[in-house]
Structure formats: C-alpha cells, structure tokens
Amino acid sequence: MQYMLIMRSNDEALAASQEIPFEQIIEAMGKYNESLVQAGVLVAGEGLSDATEGFVVDFTAEPPLVTDGPYGETKELFNGFWILEVASREEAAEWAKRCPLGPGSKLEVRRIHSTEDFPADNEWIKKEEGWREEAARRATTAERA
C-alpha cells in the first residue's frame, strides 16, 4: 500500500531552519532519503519552492479567481511530500517518525487510493482510467518527439 507523507511547516519551523547551516539540513534530509531508497520503500518525493512564488486558483468565483502567494490564512505551509510503498499503516507511521524535522513541522500521512478501492464497473472510474491512459500516452509521445 502506498502512503503520502505531506510536510507542513509553520513560521517557527521556518525561522528555526534559518539558524541551522543549510549544509546540515541537506545532509540530514539526504541521509533520510537514502535510507528510504535503501529500504526499497521510496516511490516518489519532491520538495516545493517558496510558497510566495506560488499562486492559488479559487473556484468560489466564476470564472475561477487567481491570486498570488500561498493559500488563504494558513499558518502551515505545504512544502514537500514523499510517496512510500510499505507493508502497513504502522510502517508508514514509523518512517514518518524518523524524518529529520523539528518543532513547528508536521507530517500528515495519507493513504493513496488504489484501483481496488473502487468498483471496477463504475463508468466514471473507467473514464478516469481512460484519461490517465491518454495522459500517459501523450507523455510517451512527447518523450519520443
């Protein structure tokens, strides 16, 4: 089963990270990532750039409204994720606990849906699989081009 570890940090964590040499943070995170790779559990993972570079598309308005910067009044910013393939919920929790993060940071752990979670004959599920396939085919074509 696959889980997503969603990293959120608040101002306290961001301020604290300014105090620690960047090299040290990179090394600790690098070792953590390497242990995930060596254990054969890491499927994907990315860090996100500064939230102020981002923007939000809000569907409350019609047409949707685009605003600069992070989402709403949030105190915790989403700034990275891992996708792990593990044997159990407990294993996902154990890996999450080992992440080198400090006060003010949180990992939200969510299970990723698999196709078995849905009835195979649902027409919308089939359509979504069709879209995924189409997207994958387009990506393949682009790779070859």
Binding site: K31, V37, Q38, V43, A87, A93, E94, R98, G130
Partner: protein, 442 residues
C-alpha cells in the same frame, strides 16, 4: 482500563513493533552478523532481542531509536552466549570493551546508510547462497532481509508454521556446516552469486502472481515484497544492469495485476485485458528502470530482455498495435543467451503476430518434431514435452491457417495434458468450435 482496551493497546504495540522490525531487521541482523561473524547466531540473537522488545515496549513505549536498542540488547545476549560457551577468547574481550564504549544512548543518531549498506548486501548474498535449497533461500531472504515473521511466512506460502521454522533452522545449519563466511563474494564468484540473488527475488515475485499452491490465483503481497527487495538490491548494486532489468520486469508485470483477473477471480488473457486498468505509475517506473539497465552500457541480460518484451505490451493500446517485431527480436536475443523451448515457443507466438501463422508454424513444428527441423533428439522439447502449451499454440496456428481438423486434434491433445480444470474447459471449447482462431494466448 478494561481488559478489552488493554488488549487493543497491546495489539497496536505489536503491530508497531512488527513495523519497526520490517524496517530494521536487515540492518540489525547484518550488523550482528558482521560483529559475531556467525550468520546463524546473529539471526538467533536478533530474534531474542525482538522477543524482548515485544515484552518491554508495550509498557516502556517504543524507543526513539529502536534499531540501536535492538542491536544493543542483541550484543548483550551475544556476550552472555559467549560466556556460557566459556569462550574467554579474544572475541569476548573485544565485545566487553565494545559494550563499555558503546553504552546505549537513547538519542543515538540513526543508521548511517553509507556504513550499513555493505553489511546488508552481505546479508542478501548469504541468505541466497547456492548451498541452500531454493525454498530455504526464499524463506531466509524474506525472514532476515524483508523482516517477515514466521507466522506471516507460513500464511504467504500456505504451509504450517512448524514447516517454516524447520526450514529456517535447517538453512542456518546448512550455512554453518558449509562454513559460508559472512562476506561479499569474491570477484570470481560474483556473477553466479548475483544471479542467485536475482533468481530468489524473481521466484518470490512469480510465486505471488502465479500461485503454484492454494486456490487464489494471485497473492500480490508476495509480489510486492519481491519488488521491495528488487528496489533494495538496485540501491545496493546500482552498476549491475540486471538488477535494474529485474526491477523493470517486475514493475511492468505488476502493472497488469489490476486487469489480470475478473470479478470471479478467473484469469484474463493479456489480449482480453482492459488496459485502462493497468497501473500507469508502475509502467512509468518500469520503463525508467529498463532505461537504467540500458544506460549501464553492457547490453541487456535475460531479465532486461523480458522487461523489454513486457514494455512492448505495456505501451501498446491493444494486441493489433503492439510492436511484435521488437518482441521477436527480444526473444531471439533471449534464445541466444538463455536458450529454452519455452522461449522458442513464445517467439513463435510473437512471429505469428509479426509475420503470420505460416512462419510461426514452422518454428513450432521444429519444436514438436513434425517438420524438417524436428529430427533432433526428443530431449529438445525440454519442459514442453508433456505440457499442454505446445499443442495449444500449434492448434491456434493451424486454426488460423484454416486447417480445422488438425487444429481440433491439437486442442484435444492439449486438453488431455492440461492440469487445471479451467484451462481444460477452455481448450475443449476451442476443439468444439472447430478451432476458430483466438489471439494472443500468452
């Protein structure tokens, strides 16, 4: 607190301990094996430490660094063991010294992946040592490298717990009697030993999706364990093309799992699978692994070639739009490096799609001893001699060529040879239909 909630709390701790063990077993056992120089003893000590954890952690909580705790406890047990053995030799003195220096620290830093990876690699090579039988290699690898418990192994292989326990005990005895050292194999043996590791992982994978025992057609948990081991091996041996080839083959094969059985659990042939249900993420990862195998620049081995064939299927929208010529080429290469009648038969099936049934029939007749190429010794048929596959494929080709009576005879022969009732029914139905063509029966 009622008994019920206490039970639940205990159960939660047990599951958490099992999770810790899944993560740390390989590193704990590997560290202990290097430390004691004795694989069997290391495994025993690790199990004792785990038992102690199951006793203590429900009350004390799980330590901040569980692996360090387990290793520390196991090393103490090693000291006790040596004392009991009255071996006051250098080993004991060194150990006592080490325990003195490395007093257990709750806040010890976690494993350094650079330091531990060589030990885990040695562990994998030892568990897959050719001196062991295949079932022993499989059991030992899942136990010490993947950190599966005896009960879990028994459940996955549908055998009693006592059978698994005996298998592990005997395997450790065999290693001890053969004097297998805990080391990375010397250069001269390296290729053969790596082949054994790859073979064990692939065996675990295929056991998961062809299920030779029991009623379920697939046990995807076993296949997932194999993929996880494959990913571990890739991290440990990134310069070996076949480690990437094997991982690619497993990812690309597993990508089809969601489409491989129908609602009643019956298998669906590749040609009839709903390809929209294939796992696109697994296909992407498998293709990336295959690319890495190619990037090693030493040609493709048997696993990578099979992965290349699986890739042709994975990226094709249907049977008609599959690159059968590339598949034929891959089978030709496979026949050169790992010749077998089954590979030749598979090539014939691909040739039928790429160039038509007439050319394919000539290959199959060569195997079956019907045509001019069939004057070789009967042994050439190898594993195919008694299998239903040969007459089944021959019947299919004859049917496509409109040679209905001959096709029917082949299907009846195939049905006679089939072990599985479901297969037999399908073949008899084909015979009854007068051998009307069916496609892509692989």
């Amino acid at each position: 607190m009622t008994e019920g909630t206490a039970g639940r709390g205990q159960d939660a701790t047990r599951r958490a301990v099992a999770a810790v063990w899944r993560i740390d077993a390989a590193r704990v056992v590997a560290t202990l094996a290097r430390y004691t120089g004795d694989f069997g003893l290391a495994e025993d000590l690790a199990q004792e430490a785990l038992a102690q954890a199951l006793e203590r952690w429900p009350d004390q909580g799980i330590p901040r660094n569980p692996a360090a705790w387990l290793t520390h406890v196991a090393k103490r047990r090693a000291a006790d063991h040596w004392r009991r053995q009255d071996r006051q030799a250098a080993g004991t003195a060194a150990l006592a010294h080490d325990l003195e220096l490395n007093r257990f620290e709750e806040n010890q830093p976690p494993w350094d992946p650079d330091e531990i990876s060589d030990d885990v690699l040695r562990l994998l090579f030892t568990a897959c040592h050719p001196v062991l039988s295949e079932p022993a290699r499989v059991a030992l690898t899942l136990r010490v490298v993947a950190g599966l418990g005896t009960e879990e192994l028994a459940r996955l292989f549908l055998v009693p717990v006592s059978t698994v326990q005996q298998r592990i005990v005997r395997a450790k005895q065999t290693l001890a009697e053969a004097g297998v050292p805990f080391e990375t194999p010397p250069r001269a043996e390296r290729g053969r030993r790596l082949a054994s590791v790859l073979g064990v992982i692939y065996l675990i994978f295929t056991e998961g999706h062809t299920a030779t025992a029991g009623t379920d057609w697939m046990r995807p948990e076993l296949s997932r364990e194999a993929i996880r081991l494959g990913r571990q091996l890739v991290a440990l041996q990134p310069d070996e093309p076949e480690t990437h080839g094997l991982l690619a083959l497993m990812e690309l094969t597993a990508a089809r799992f969601p489409a491989r059985v129908d609602a009643t659990g019956a298998p669906i042939l590749l040609a009839d699978q709903d390809r929209r249900r294939w796992d696109r993420g697994a296909i992407r990862r498998g293709r990336a692994s295959l690319q890495r195998a190619q990037d090693c620049g030493r040609g493709l081995g048997p696993y990578a070639l099979q992965a290349a064939i699986a890739e042709c299927h994975a990226i094709a929208p249907d049977v008609a739009h599959t690159d059968w010529r590339r598949i034929v080429t891959a089978y030709e290469a496979l026949e050169l490096i790992a010749p077998s009648p089954v590979i030749t038969l598979n090539r014939a099936v691909a040739v039928a799609e790429a160039s038509g049934p007439q050319e394919a029939l000539a290959i199959v007749d060569g195997l079956a001893g019907h045509g001019p190429a069939g004057h070789g010794p009967a042994g050439r048929k190898g594993g195919l001699a008694t299998s239903y596959l040969l007459p089944s494929v021959r019947g299919e080709l004859l049917a496509r060529l409109g040679r209905t009576d001959e096709a029917r005879a082949e299907f009846i022969e195939a049905a006679r040879r089939a072990h599985n009732a479901r297969e037999r029914d399908v073949l008899l139905a084909k015979a009854a239909r007068g051998g009307s063509p069916d496609r892509g029966a692989q």
